[in-house]
């Protein structure tokens, strides 16, 4: 019997070395920039600019990387998903009303839909330390958000679709646009909820409350030192307390909507647009995976070509709808009444404390990117679906024969990547110029990131995104200083990509195949 515990020994392997070289390269670049700039403000601007670019690229690259690792599909349409995010977000944003009353109704539809899922997430986060110290709670299982997801999804489809529908109807009939919008949103949300109405548990809210109370009762039992009641006896038993809570939740969300509406609506507008964008991206991802990519898993040669074709179609449709010209960021397109509402007011202007040329919006983009980065990392390392994804990267057939519906996981992962890309789209739309070829540009950078980081390695992708962002901004700085042109930034990234490919094709952290 081998009882000797094998410890991982510390030695410098090829991956560590290449990681050190890459970070060294970045640091060297920054030092060069710092020496050249001789100015703290400018230096911090270059770094912040690099970081936000890196984060935007990361949002495209994250999906690319995970999807490639799991399914061996290099999705050439990932950049187009970013564009879908940007343009759908804009569509929703411009179809939102300027009228406060209408907004209140729309917002409450949204907030009602979001309260349960937001609460679940909050409770989940709050429970993490609890799960660690009270293992029995974790064993009892976590509130699965299947029904919640269904419900939220229906509201998410319903509201934006209804908005568009209402606007279209109003345009054609010449009646009051706002009334139509609200009616549309409500009707479509209701229609989308038909699937859930069949569920006897009051749109799942009651069910959710029961989940919480179950956990509460178990926790109480543990604290009091009693034997925790078995789950079977607890679940799906409505109590008067939960009914009150349902009412409370609805009231709370309506109140929140009213409150937010009266004070600052631009943030919520942006929120709604972002959610709709993410949702549209996710939906596009699901359709792409199930309709187009799934039949071609047996013909890997064609997948790359196929996604390329999809990217082409999306680009052309966008050109058809919006024209080819670059017209600054989407703010320029907004209807007159809504001008200046995007990005939200608090994101306007320069970062106040440093008195630099760093925009507030950059900081926002960096924070969102970091959130995504960490969020996906937590998802991969801490959750069951993360375990499945990591296992599926190695051997998806084996995962399937353990009883996991791998195809569903594939779709989910594709949708996740698509959602993140769409998020990147709506976020970038607030600052950089939006045009039908931005998808291709982002895709190119994202491919560079994914390959530099190592195909299929998520940590590598995260790091490479930052490296590429900083490379872009410092190369851009140098090219402006030396040659008075902006064009060298993308070339620097491409040259870096070529070098990495030729020196270490598997990337900084990729495994040699």
């Amino acid at each position: 019997m081998d009882t000797i515990k094998r410890r991982p020994t510390f030695k410098i392997d090829k991956n560590t070395l290449s990681g050190v070289v890459a970070i060294g390269f970045t640091l060297l670049m920054l030092v060069l920039v710092a020496l050249d700039a001789k100015d703290g403000k400018r230096f911090s601007q270059i770094v912040a600019g690099g970081l936000y670019q890196g984060m935007l690229i990361f949002m495209v690259a994250a999906g690319l990387s995970i999807v490639f690792g799991l399914m061996d599909v290099l999705n050439f349409a990932q950049g187009s998903l970013l564009m879908i995010g940007a343009y759908v977000g804009f569509e929703i944003l411009s179809s939102l009303s300027t009228d406060t009353k209408t907004n209140a109704v729309l917002l409450s539809i949204h907030v009602v839909a979001f309260t349960p899922i937001a609460t679940t997430l909050l409770i989940e986060i709050a429970m993490i330390p609890l799960y660690r110290f009270v293992p029995k709670l974790a064993e009892a299982g976590r509130p699965s958000s299947h029904l919640l997801a269904k419900m939220t999804a229906s509201a998410l489809i319903g509201t934006p679709l209804g908005l568009l529908l209402g606007s279209t109807v109003a345009d054609n009939l010449g009646s009051s646009a706002d009334t139509m919008r609200v009616i549309g949103a409500v009707v479509v949300t209701a229609l989308a909820s038909v699937d859930m109405v069949r569920d006897p548990l009051l749109f799942g809210i009651k069910w959710f409350i029961n989940e919480i109370s179950t956990r509460f009762q178990i926790g109480l039992a543990i604290i009091q030192g009693r034997q925790a009641p078995p789950i079977e006896t607890l679940e799906y038993k409505p109590s008067s307390a939960s009914d009150k809570a349902v009412l409370g939740a609805i009231l709370l969300s309506t109140f929140m909507a009213m409150l937010l509406n009266t004070t600052e609506t631009t943030a919520l507008r942006f929120g709604i647009a972002a959610i709709a964008a993410v949702f549209a991206g996710t939906l596009a991802g699901i359709i792409m995976e199930t309709v187009f990519i799934r039949p071609t898993y047996v013909r890997p040669f064609f997948q790359i070509v196929l996604t390329f074709g999809i990217a082409l179609v999306i680009r052309e449709v966008i050109i058809y709808r919006y024209g080819i010209a670059t017209q600054g960021n989407l703010t320029a397109y907004l209807p007159r009444g809504l001008a200046g509402t995007f990005p939200p007011h608090f994101l306007h202007g320069l970062f106040p404390n440093l008195e630099t040329t760093i925009f507030n919006y950059w900081i926002f983009m960096i924070i969102m990117g970091l959130l995504m980065m960490v969020g996906v990392q937590v998802l991969l390392m801490r959750t069951r679906i993360g375990i499945i994804i990591r296992a599926g990267v190695q051997d998806s057939e084996m995962v399937e024969s353990l009883g996991v519906n791998v195809r569903l996981v594939f779709t989910a992962v594709f949708a996740l990547g698509a959602g993140i890309a769409a998020m990147g789209g709506i976020i970038s739309a607030g600052f950089i110029s939006v045009d039908p070829v931005m998808g291709d540009l982002f895709l190119l950078q994202a491919i560079a990131v994914v390959i530099i980081g190592g195909l299929g390695s998520y940590a590598g992708t995260s790091l490479a995104a930052i490296i590429v962002g900083l490379t872009r901004s410092s190369a851009g700085y140098f090219s402006r200083q030396q040659f008075n042109t902006d064009g060298l930034a993308p070339i620097a990234v491409l040259v870096l990509l070529c070098i990495v490919l030729l020196v270490k094709p598997s990337g900084l952290f990729g495994k040699e195949h």
Partner: protein, 467 residues
């Protein structure tokens, strides 16, 4: 299309049998300017360079078709036959475009010298790619080509090199008179046709050679090809260099036709066009990419010519709209792209090849066999289509094998002319829209096919005497 490997024909005759569809197309292309002129009643080559007659316009379209055709042939050699995915064919194309334009306009080099230098540059870039292909496989190689080409694209747009490349505006230059698309388009048409035929024959010859078989083996199973002792890198290099050479040639054709160089010639779009063409026509087949590319270019031309009137009266009362066909073209192209990958993955030619055997079996059972029972002579006419050697045809038609074909030939005058010549004659007459032209073609072809036919018959009799 026909499998005549069993045949005991004279090599010349065999060559003709193997290639008759190509010969047909070639003859059509050769006469194309005149056929169009005949149909549209316009001048083939108007006196003033400023006049663009209908015939001249279509010559221009066809030159573009040949350019795209050469590019598609080149792309197909790498992607379809060798299995190397390239997303950077624009770099070869653009090299051809920019080298000639820069050398002629900025450095006042002679046109011929510039072409040679451009081709040499294309080959050098191809060699760099081949070196990358030593290390990189599959997706990685594709990404390398993408990055490589994109670097050149960005460089061409840089204001830094504006003195050389003209930045986003590009360069305009003047082609020599004899090949100028404005002054002498007809000559350019025939030169482009010659280049196109050269490219087609080169790749076709290459793929029929033992090296070509190795390339296909490399695509299907590189490991096995390597264990069989083939130097896979050498063959990959061969494929990349020939492909790069042809793509550069296509670029030169492009710039000669348009007399300018602009950054889009280096862009990803130059990969998309041949890729879609290959997909529609059939990846990994010889005629497929050319067919697809020409369908694309000509289809686009027809759509661009006029807007589509769409009548929605049956859905919405009094709702008629004019659709800008050009706007829809790109969207439709992308959708066709996806549909072809999903539904017809082997393209038109590939799918046809796959079902051809079935079709032939069906035709033989219900059409051919009953027919030759009644008219045995059909068996000898139908040779090139059925792919049967004359002996088999005779057996099928119940013609006694000892019967002299010459007697048949004398008895039935049409038998002296084989079926493909007849079809060419009739088609040419039909296309030219005049029976006089048809008859003159018939006589002409009879004349030129007679020696071939005689040689073939002679050979058969010799065989019989020996056997």
């Amino acid at each position: 299309m026909t499998d005549n490997r069993l045949g005991r024909r004279h090599p010349l005759v065999q060559t003709f049998y193997d290639n008759w569809p190509y010969v047909l197309v070639l003859i059509l292309l050769w006469r194309f300017p005149y056929i169009v002129a005949n149909i549209t009643h316009s001048d083939v080559a108007p006196d003033s360079p400023r006049i663009v007659s209908e015939a001249k316009f279509w010559q221009g379209v066809m030159i573009e078709v040949f350019t795209l055709g050469v590019l598609a042939i080149s792309y197909n050699l790498m992607f379809g036959f060798t299995g190397l995915i390239s997303f950077g064919h624009g770099v070869f194309f653009g090299t051809g475009v920019y080298s000639v334009a820069i050398l002629v306009s900025e450095y006042q080099q002679s046109f011929e010298k510039s072409i040679l230098i451009a081709l040499a540059l294309g080959v050098i870039i191809a060699l760099i790619w081949a070196m990358a292909a030593f290390r990189l496989k599959g997706v990685y190689f594709a990404m390398f080509t993408l990055a490589f080409a994109q670097i050149f694209y960005e460089l061409s747009r840089l204001t830094l090199f504006k003195f050389l490349t003209g930045g986003d505006d590009g360069i305009t230059w003047t082609a020599p008179d004899w090949i100028n698309a404005v002054r002498n388009r007809l000559t350019l048409y025939y030169v482009a046709l010659a280049v196109f035929v050269f490219a087609f024959m080169l790749v076709r010859r290459l793929m029929n050679s033992p090296s070509g078989k190795v390339l296909v083996a490399l695509r299907d199973n590189p490991v096995r090809a390597e264990t069989l002792g083939f130097n896979i890198y050498l063959y990959r290099t061969l494929s990349i260099v020939v492909s790069g050479f042809l793509a550069t040639l296509a670029g030169i054709m492009h710039t000669v036709n348009f007399r300018q160089a602009e950054p889009t010639t280096l862009s990803l779009g130059r990969t998309v066009d041949p890729l879609i063409g290959s997909l529609i026509g059939g990846i990994g087949t010889n005629p497929g990419p050319v067919l697809g590319a020409s369908l694309l270019r000509i289809g686009e031309q027809f759509l661009r010519k006029d807007d589509l009137q769409v009548d929605f009266n049956f859905i919405i009362y009094r709702y008629t709209t004019t659709i800008d066909a050009e706007k829809y073209w790109s969207v439709g192209l992308g959708i066709a792209f996806i549909l072809f990958v999903l539904v017809v993955p082997y393209g038109l030619v590939g799918s046809l090849n796959k079902t051809w055997i079935e079709i032939r079996r069906w035709l033989r059972k219900y059409l051919y066999n009953p027919l030759i029972k009644k008219y045995p002579i059909v068996a000898t006419w139908a040779e090139p289509f059925t792919g049967e050697p004359p002996e088999v045809a005779k057996a099928l038609a119940n013609i006694p094998p000892e019967l002299d074909l010459k007697e048949w030939a004398l008895a039935y005058p049409f038998a002296a002319m084989n079926s493909s010549t007849a079809i060419i004659a009739v088609l040419m007459g039909f296309v030219a829209w005049s029976w006089r032209v048809g008859v003159s073609w018939l006589l002409f072809l009879l004349l030129i096919s007679a020696p071939v036919r005689m040689v073939a018959l002679e050979r058969r009799f010799q065989k019989r005497r020996q056997g």
